[in-house]
């Protein structure tokens, strides 16, 4: 396959190497992929070769940013994209700091699709990572929001930001991305899912294959008859806030759209004047002066609402003042992170 004249077949060969040696960190395979990433004439093949490096090294996430570091600074945008994807795949769900260091500069790359790749990779790495574990997560989320709202941003990178938001909140924040099982075996469907996800470059609906790579973050205690007993509890020796649900997208309620005053055309004004003249301006008196009682009732309502709000704020303050407990009792079934 690698000697084929057709670049697409060589592209397939890169994926064949990635699939055949997935998770093995096989040295000769890594060398081969790096070789093709640098020496092939076709950009698609280069990109595929680097992307597949992520699949090879997925058991050793810390080696991925190291081995693609130089290529992430390449002049070729396809290599930069491939490097970002390799990190996204190889470090999926780990929240590695090195991955952040490599991907952060790529999120404001000159080329739009590199930004897209970097954003998607970031969300794959930092899925289900709380702000207590990695404070930069807050910055990443802010970046996504900013990019989505920014109308001057390129369509591709905005799409990347939107997809990344989706990945971060995947499955109602009850799932993480993991290419291995808890005991370290490869999850075949997750790897194949990500491989097919990478085909979204050519056809967007392939994005949906990402779902295969997700795995639920749940702890469910069962008894002998496979039932879920309510009485089962487990104690987590961490502050509750350390592993609480990541915050969901906040929608600004205060930001109401300004009402656009409709332009009044001269013709409509004239028509109105004509109509008024015909009707002899009757019924004007009825419409004015709203009843004073209603206004009073409105005022009372507002006051009550204000009181309720103040009480709420006070309660929240009290809660904040209380020292956070060092452990937490989790009921069955519950959500846990890796």
């Amino acid at each position: 396959m690698v000697r084929s004249k057709d670049a697409i077949v060589r592209y397939g060969a890169m994926y064949a190497i990635g699939a055949a040696y997935a998770g093995t960190s096989n040295n000769s395979a890594v060398q081969k992929l790096l070789h093709y990433a640098v020496s092939d004439v076709n950009d698609d093949v280069k990109r595929a070769a680097l992307t597949n490096l992520g699949f090879l090294l997925l058991r050793k996430p810390q080696t991925v940013p190291e081995s693609v570091k130089h290529l992430a600074e390449s002049y070729n945008p396809h290599l930069r994209y491939g490097a970002a994807m390799a990190v996204g795949i190889g470090c999926a769900g780990t929240g590695l700091n090195e991955a952040l260091k490599l991907l952060a500069p790529l999120t404001n790359d000159q080329v739009d699709f590199v930004r897209q790749g970097a954003l998607i990779a970031l969300s794959m790495v930092f899925i289900q990572v709380t702000e207590v574990q990695e404070p930069k997560v807050a910055t990443i989320k802010k970046l996504y929001n900013k990019m989505i709202e920014d109308k001057h941003e390129d369509v591709l990178s905005r799409m990347g930001a939107i997809i990344s938001q989706g990945i971060l909140n995947a499955a109602g924040r009850n799932a993480t991305m993991s290419l291995t099982t808890r005991d370290g075996n490869l999850r075949q469907n997750a790897i194949v899912g990500l491989m097919m996800f990478c085909q979204h470059w050519y056809w967007y609906p392939m994005l949906n294959f990402l779902g295969l790579a997700l795995t639920p973050t749940a702890l469910i205690g069962l008894n002998g008859s496979l039932k879920v007993p309510k009485s089962f509890k487990c104690i987590s020796n961490a502050k509750p806030s350390a592993y609480k649900y990541p915050e969901f997208i906040k929608i600004d309620k205060d930001k109401k759209k300004e009402k656009v005053t409709a332009a009044v055309l001269s013709t409509t004004a004239k028509a109105k004047a004509r109509k008024d003249r015909k009707e002899g301006k009757t019924g004007d008196a009825e419409a004015t002066s709203p009843s004073p009682k209603k206004a009073e009732a409105d005022k009372e309502m507002v006051d009550e609402e204000k009181k309720a709000e103040e009480e709420k704020a006070e309660e929240e303050k009290k809660k904040e003042d209380e020292p956070e407990p060092d452990f937490q009792e989790l009921k069955n079934p519950t959500r846990v992170l890796k």
């Binding site: 697409i8 190497i17 055949a20």
Partner: protein
């Protein structure tokens, strides 16, 4: 054979991906040869890409066995 359908590349593409997903890690000699022949006949980019992905998926987890095909 769906991928013989000349009218629509999408159908051929879907058929190829479908075969690949069903035969993950199978490394079946006969079907690999079949697919390689088809790649030579095809001139539609989408179908070729899908077929080469099929080959990749068939090689899943096969390590050295994949080298002969890749080379």
């Amino acid at each position: 054979m769906l991928y013989n359908n000349a009218d629509s590349a999408i159908i051929g593409e879907a058929a190829a991906y479908g075969m690949g997903l069903v035969m993950i890690g199978a490394a079946d000699q006969e079907s690999i040869q079949d697919i390689l022949n088809h790649i030579d006949d095809q001139n539609h980019e989408k179908i070729i890409r899908a077929l080469s992905m099929t080959l990749a998926l068939q090689m899943f987890g096969r390590e050295e066995q994949a080298d002969t095909l890749v080379e």
